[in-house]
C-alpha cells in the first residue's frame, strides 16, 4: 500500500465528505443572515458576524468613536462600543431566538412521545422476547409467527385505516395517537433483536434463578434486563431515530396542531409566516438537529450498531 495511493483516497473521501456536508454548512451560515444577505450574496459570511468582529476589534484598539446602528425598531442610533456590541450580537442571534420560541413546544412534545415510545418498546419487546426465547408452550410457534408476520404489512397499506381507527377511538390530538401505534409497530423489531440475543444466553443463568424460586418478573428484572444492556441501547437508538423522523403520522393525527412533534412542526413552520424570515427557518432546522447530534456524540458506537441493525428489517 503506497503512501501516494492513500493520499489519493483521502482526497476523494474528503471531497465527497465536503459535498455531503455542504448543505448543512450553508444552513448554519444562513442562521445568522438576513433575507437581503441571502438574496444578494449566497456565499457570504454573515454581516452580523463581520460587524461584531469589527466592533470588538475597535474596542480592543481603544478606538471609542460612537457607531451608528439600526436598533430593533429600525431606528438609527448612535451607540458606544459596549452598546453596539450588544446590539450586533442581538441581531446575529435573532433567528435562533425566534426559532426556539416556535419549536420549543414541538421539542417538548417530541420528548414526551419519544420517551414513552422507547420505554414501551423496550419493556414490551424484551419481556415478550424473553418468553419466546426461554420457554416452549402450546401456541409458541403460532405466537412468534403472529408477531413476525406484521413486518410484511407496509405503512402505506395501514395509513388510512389507522387514522380511522385512532379517530374512532377518540385519540386524535393526543400523545396516545402517536405513542400506542409506535409501540405496537416498533416492538416487533425489538422482539426480533432481543430474541436472537436472549437465544444466545446460557440456560444456567435462568436455571439457578428458578431453583432459587424466582418468578418470571424477578428473572426479567434481575437477570434479563441487566444482561441486555448492550443490545438495549442499540434497540433504543434505532427506535428513537424512527420516531424522531416520522413526519406524516403526527401531521395527520394532530388536526388541531397542539401536539406537533419536531418533524411535523418544522413542516408546519415552513408553511406559516415565519417561513418568510429565512434566518428563523434555518435556525429551526439547525436547532432541531441538536438533540440527535448530542445523542450521536454521546453514544457513537451503539448509534452505528443501531443504524446497521436496521438491515434486519428487510
Amino acid at each position: 500500500m503506497g503512501g501516494k495511493k492513500t493520499w489519493l483516497i483521502h482526497a476523494v473521501l474528503v471531497f465527497f465528505s465536503l459535498l455531503t456536508l455542504l448543505p448543512f454548512v450553508f444552513t448554519v451560515n444562513n442562521v445568522f443572515r438576513t433575507n437581503a444577505e441571502f438574496y444578494h450574496a449566497f456565499f457570504s459570511v454573515p454581516n452580523a458576524f463581520k460587524q461584531t468582529l469589527s466592533i470588538a476589534g475597535g474596542a480592543l484598539t481603544g478606538d471609542d468613536t460612537p457607531i451608528e446602528m439600526a436598533d430593533e425598531e429600525g431606528l438609527i442610533r448612535s451607540l458606544d462600543k459596549k452598546q453596539a456590541l450588544r446590539l450586533s450580537l442581538t441581531n446575529a442571534t435573532r433567528g435562533p431566538r425566534l426559532a426556539w420560541k416556535v419549536i420549543r413546544p414541538y421539542m417538548l412534545n417530541t420528548l414526551v412521545v419519544v420517551s414513552l415510545t422507547v420505554i414501551g418498546v423496550i419493556l414490551l419487546g424484551s419481556a415478550t422476547a424473553y418468553i419466546l426465547a426461554r420457554y416452549r408452550f402450546a401456541g409458541h410457534r403460532a405466537l412468534f409467527l403472529f408477531i413476525i408476520s406484521t413486518m410484511m404489512f407496509p405503512g402505506v397499506l395501514t395509513l388510512v385505516p389507522s387514522f380511522l381507527l385512532v379517530k374512532s377511538l377518540g385519540l386524535l390530538n393526543t400523545y396516545w395517537a402517536m405513542v400506542l401505534p409506535y409501540i405496537a409497530a416498533g416492538q416487533v423489531f425489538a422482539i426480533f433483536v432481543f430474541k436472537s440475543y436472549f437465544d444466545g444466553l446460557p440456560e444456567d443463568l435462568f436455571e439457578s434463578a428458578r431453583i432459587d424460586g424466582a418468578g418470571h418478573l424477578d428473572i426479567y428484572w434481575q437477570i434479563v434486563l441487566p444482561l441486555s444492556k448492550p443490545i438495549l441501547s442499540v434497540v433504543a437508538i434505532m427506535n428513537i431515530l424512527g420516531t424522531w423522523n416520522n413526519f406524516l403520522w403526527p401531521f395527520i393525527t394532530n388536526t388541531e396542531g397542539k401536539h406537533h412533534v419536531v418533524s411535523s412542526g418544522l413542516f408546519v413552520l415552513s408553511t406559516t409566516a415565519h417561513a418568510s424570515n429565512f434566518s428563523t427557518l434555518y435556525a429551526a432546522y439547525a436547532i432541531s438537529s441538536i438533540p440527535l447530534l448530542v445523542l450521536f456524540i454521546y453514544a457513537t458506537k451503539p448509534f452505528i450498531r443501531g443504524v446497521t441493525s436496521g438491515a434486519f428489517k428487510a
Binding site: P23, A133, Q187, K313
Partner: protein, 299 residues
C-alpha cells in the same frame, strides 16, 4: 436450551400487552384496509358496498394512475442506482485505508447527517438549493449560464429530476456502513489469494469485492424498492405532486383521496394495490434472493 411448560398461563400474561397492541394497531387496520376498499364512504356519511369498483376505477379511469406509476418507477430506479453506486465506492475506499482510526473517522463523517430530521433535509433542499436565489441558480449565474436558471421544483421539465437528485452526492451513512461491513467480512485469505494471482485495482473490485458484498447490494436494492413504492412524504413536502401531476406518485394520490377528497374507500384500494406490489417483491426476494439472515457482517 429452553424450558417446556405445561401450564403456560403466566407466559400468556406477559406477552398479552404486546399481542393486544399488535392486534389493535396493526392487524385491525390491515383487515380494515381490505374491507373498506370495497366500500364507498366518507367520514360521517353513509357507506355502501361497491365491490371491486374502486380497483376498476383506479386502473381503468383514474387519469393519474399510469403517469404516477411511471413517476414512482423513475424515482425508485434512480434511487436504487444511486444507493447502489456512490456509497459502495465510498465504502470500498474507506475499507482501503491502512489505519483503522481513519476508517472510523470517515464512517462517522458520512453518518453524521443522519441527525438532521428528514423533513429538514427536504426543506433545506427546497428552500436553499432549488429556490430562485438558491445555490443551484447562484452557481449557474456565477458561471454565466443565467438563462438556465429556474424554479427547479416548479418547472414541469425539471421537477421530477430535481426530486430524484435531492441528497447529491448520495453517500448515505446507512448504505456506507452496510457495504463497509460487507467488505470487512471478506476473509483475509481471499484478499491474499487474489493479490498472489495479480488481481488488483478495478479488476479486483469487479471480480472479487462486488461478488462478496452481493447480499448487501440486494438488501439495499430491496429496501430501496419497498421504500420507493410506498414513500411519498418527500414529494408531499416538496411539490405536493405538482406542477400539475408531474411529480404525483400513487401513495401521494392515496393520501389526497383520503385526507383532501374524503374518499376513504378509494384511498384504501390504492393502498391495497401498492401493498400487492410490495408483497410480490417480498415473495420474489424470499424465493430468489438470500435472506438477510445471511448478512453476518452486518452485525
Amino acid at each position: 436450551m429452553s424450558v417446556r411448560l405445561q401450564s403456560p398461563l403466566s407466559c400468556y400474561a406477559i406477552v398479552l400487552p404486546s399481542l393486544v397492541l399488535l392486534t389493535t394497531f396493526v392487524y385491525l387496520p390491515v383487515v380494515w384496509a381490505f374491507a373498506s376498499s370495497l366500500y364507498e364512504f366518507e367520514i360521517g356519511a353513509d357507506s355502501h358496498f361497491v365491490g371491486l369498483a374502486h380497483y376498476g376505477e383506479y386502473l381503468g379511469q383514474d387519469p393519474t394512475a399510469f403517469p404516477s406509476l411511471a413517476n414512482m418507477l423513475v424515482l425508485t430506479l434512480i434511487a436504487a442506482i444511486m444507493r447502489m453506486s456512490f456509497p459502495l465506492i465510498i465504502a470500498r475506499l474507506i475499507y482501503a485505508l491502512p489505519t483503522e482510526r481513519w476508517r472510523y473517522i470517515y464512517r462517522i463523517v458520512f453518518l453524521v447527517p443522519i441527525v438532521v430530521p428528514g423533513v429538514a433535509v427536504q426543506l433545506i433542499w427546497a428552500d436553499m438549493i432549488y429556490s430562485d436565489f438558491g445555490l443551484l441558480n447562484e452557481l449557474l449565474r456565477g458561471v454565466g449560464l443565467s438563462h438556465w436558471t429556474r424554479g427547479w421544483l416548479a418547472d414541469p421539465q425539471t421537477a421530477l429530476a430535481s426530486i430524484a437528485l435531492i441528497g447529491f452526492p448520495f453517500v448515505g451513512g446507512f448504505e456506507v456502513l452496510i457495504y463497509y461491513a460487507g467488505f470487512s467480512s471478506i476473509p483475509e485469505s481471499v484478499n491474499e489469494a487474489s493479490a498472489l494471482d495479480g488481481c488488483t485495482g478495478l479488476q479486483k473490485f469487479f471480480r472479487i469485492d462486488i461478488p462478496m458484498v452481493l447480499s448487501q447490494l440486494k438488501l439495499i436494492l430491496i429496501l430501496t424498492l419497498i421504500g420507493g413504492i410506498q414513500g411519498f412524504e418527500n414529494i408531499f413536502i416538496l411539490t405536493r405532486g405538482g406542477p400539475g401531476f408531474e411529480t404525483t406518485v400513487p401513495g401521494l394520490w392515496m393520501y389526497f383521496n383520503a385526507f383532501s377528497f374524503q374518499r376513504m374507500g378509494y384511498a384504501c384500494a390504492i393502498g391495497v394495490l401498492l401493498f400487492a406490489i410490495i408483497f410480490g417483491l417480498t415473495l420474489l426476494n424470499m424465493k430468489y434472493f438470500k435472506s438477510s439472515e445471511d448478512l453476518q457482517g452486518v452485525r
